[in-house]
């Protein structure tokens, strides 16, 4: 199958001799939901900038749906919709004009341009705000405006550079739902993020980039499988005895009502509950310690230095 995006040995040296990308290779299949994860300054935006022609590459090869950007960049560009990290529209223009103009730049006739602009502004909940100068929109609305703008020519590959920066939780959820929906309809999506949780919630494949190098490139499932231990937090109904121990498990008593249990890969979690039952301890709720992914991320990134 022709990949939606294929990057081979891409490198970038900026004018100040800084080597932002040190020969990265990536392949994203059509229909995939792909996360490019990495800390600040890793090279995510540089990579995206090169894909959409805003940054000139120093070496390497990029194809979009089989079209080499060196051979026919305009044809490659038609496949791509781009949502940049920074707001990059004229703040004095109205949202509707911004989206309609973008359609025009892709050659969509005025009637169709308007129709599409309306469709995507509605889908992103901005139709009511269409006649307001962009500078008067809230930060989250501005980001959604950029998403509407990127979709107006119905690209097959949507690239979002940190789409959830500055977006509140509720808005993020509805944006995630929206992205899942257009992905289900066939749009390949690549997004960059700092958060493994976001990648986990959305993406099927993931690459981790650090200091201009890919340090991990795998499926989300495979990455999660690499987690060799998980820590669960248990909330107890009654006050806990001073000491709690379960054979074979590392248990910490956090406070009078909270326990932390570390479960190694392959261990049977049922044993924990059986033991707790015997000790007459009753659990009201249980959750993952939220930063388990973060820990792994930090390990991966530090391991690469």
């Amino acid at each position: 199958m022709i990949p939606a995006l294929e990057i081979e040995n891409l490198s970038k040296v900026y004018d100040n001799d800084f080597e932002a990308l040190k020969g990265i290779s990536l392949r994203v299949e059509p229909g995939d939901f792909f996360a490019l994860l990495g800390p600040n300054g890793a090279g995510k935006s540089t990579t995206i900038g090169i894909i959409c022609s805003l940054v000139a590459k120093s070496a390497g090869k990029i194809s979009i749906f089989g079209v080499d950007i060196d051979e026919d960049f305009p044809a490659a560009k038609r496949y791509i919709g781009i949502v940049p990290q920074e707001f990059n529209f004229n703040q004095f223009e109205k949202g509707l004009d911004i989206v309609i103009n973008q359609a025009g730049y892709y050659g969509l006739a005025p009637g169709l341009a308007r129709e599409r602009a309306e469709k995507y502004l509605r889908e992103l909940g901005l139709w009511e705000q269409r006649d307001i100068p962009a500078r008067m929109l809230s930060g989250g609305m501005k980001r959604r405006l950029m998403i509407a703008r990127s979709l107006v020519h119905e690209p097959q590959l949507l690239i979002l550079d940190e789409p959830s920066a500055g977006v509140d939780i509720e808005m993020r959820r509805s944006m995630w739902d929206f992205l899942r929906r257009i992905n289900a309809q066939g749009t390949t999506i690549i997004l960059t993020t700092h958060y493994l949780e976001e990648a986990e919630a959305l993406c099927r494949h993931i690459a981790i980039i650090n200091h201009g190098k890919i340090v991990e490139n795998t499926s989300m499932k495979e990455l999660l499988r690499q987690l060799d231990r998980e820590v669960f937090i248990l909330d107890c109904l009654e006050e806990l005895p001073a000491a709690v121990a379960i054979d074979g498990f590392l248990i910490r008593r956090i406070d009078d009502h909270t326990l932390e249990v570390e479960v190694q890969k392959g261990q049977n979690l049922n044993a924990v509950f059986t033991a707790l039952d015997v000790a007459d301890i009753h659990i009201s709720s249980m959750r993952n310690r939220a930063n388990r992914l973060e820990e792994m991320f930090v390990n991966l990134v530090e391991g690469a230095v």
Binding site: Y14, D15, G49, C52, S53, L54, V55, A56, F73, P74, A75, K77, R78, I80, I82, P84, E86, F87, N88, F89, N90, Q91, F92, E93, D97, I98, N101, Q102, G104, Y105, Y106, G107, L108, A109, P110, R149
Partner: protein, 257 residues
């Protein structure tokens, strides 16, 4: 992109440009109308009546074509320089750069936008001038051709300025220190005959001399410089500016990192 799509993109840029200067008309259209009215009053009516004839015409008649040209030059230049620099500054130029629009369409879109503002202001100024003098046109053909070529030339120059500019200061330096002196020394207010030979020859390096005189010929039928030469010079300057602008766009210098 096929031709029809390129045309759509071209029209989109032009429409956006026109909307921009109409939206801020107090900064884009009004100032020229006011300045030129003042010129008409001061140079044409008050001082002009003391000057008497210039190049065989009343001073008012002599100065009107030059002033119209001045409005065209400054407006087509400043429209492109501020709009294109503004889009660089806000990042919205990326909207064009990530799209499949060809560079020549981007350039011509901005240029035609600037030309249209030059023409619009020229019409306003011409209307204002009718309060002060009767305007008879010697050759409509020459007037139209010169106006279109001149506004194109200075729109291109504004584009080049915008590509190089890094700050809002940079977009006023050239208009203030280069364009305005060239206009004032370009024979808007005086006939080249008044200059000593040396300065008359130096003036021949000034593109504004050809522009102003060619236009004056179109209106009054007289010119300080040879008309075919004026056309050749305007065409040469325009070709150079166009080629250089395309070079800037194609190389991506200062637009892509």
């Amino acid at each position: 992109m096929n031709l029809r799509e390129q045309y759509v993109a071209f029209m989109t840029i032009i429409r956006k440009e026109i909307k921009r200067y109409l939206r801020i008309w107090t900064q884009t259209l009004l100032p020229s109308a006011i300045t030129m009215s003042l010129y008409f009053v001061i140079f044409g009516t008050l001082i002009g009546s003391r000057i008497g004839e210039m190049g065989g015409f009343s001073y008012m008649e002599f100065v009107v074509p030059g002033l119209i040209m001045m409005a065209i030059v400054t407006n087509s230049y400043s429209n492109v320089v501020s709009s294109f620099f503004g889009s660089k500054f806000s990042g919205s130029v990326e909207e064009l750069l990530v799209s499949p629009v060809s560079n020549v369409v981007i350039l011509m879109g901005y240029v035609v936008g600037g030309v249209s503002r030059g023409l619009l202001v020229a019409m306003v100024v011409t209307l204002v001038s009718l309060f002060f003098t009767d305007l008879t046109i010697h050759s409509y053909f020459i007037v139209v051709v010169v106006v279109l070529m001149t506004s194109t030339l200075f729109a291109l120059a504004g584009f080049i300025n915008a590509v190089y500019a890094n700050s809002f200061d940079d977009i006023s330096i050239i208009p203030t220190f280069v364009l305005t002196p060239l206009i004032y020394l370009g024979g808007v207010f005086y006939s080249m005959d008044l200059l000593p030979e040396f300065w008359a020859n130096v003036s021949k390096l000034n593109p504004l001399v050809y522009v102003v005189n060619a236009f004056r010929y179109g209106v009054l039928g007289v010119s300080d410089v040879n008309l075919p030469l004026a056309f050749v010079m305007i065409v040469i300057f325009t070709t150079l500016a166009f080629t250089y602008s395309m070079h800037l766009l194609n190389s991506g210098k200062r637009l892509r990192q």
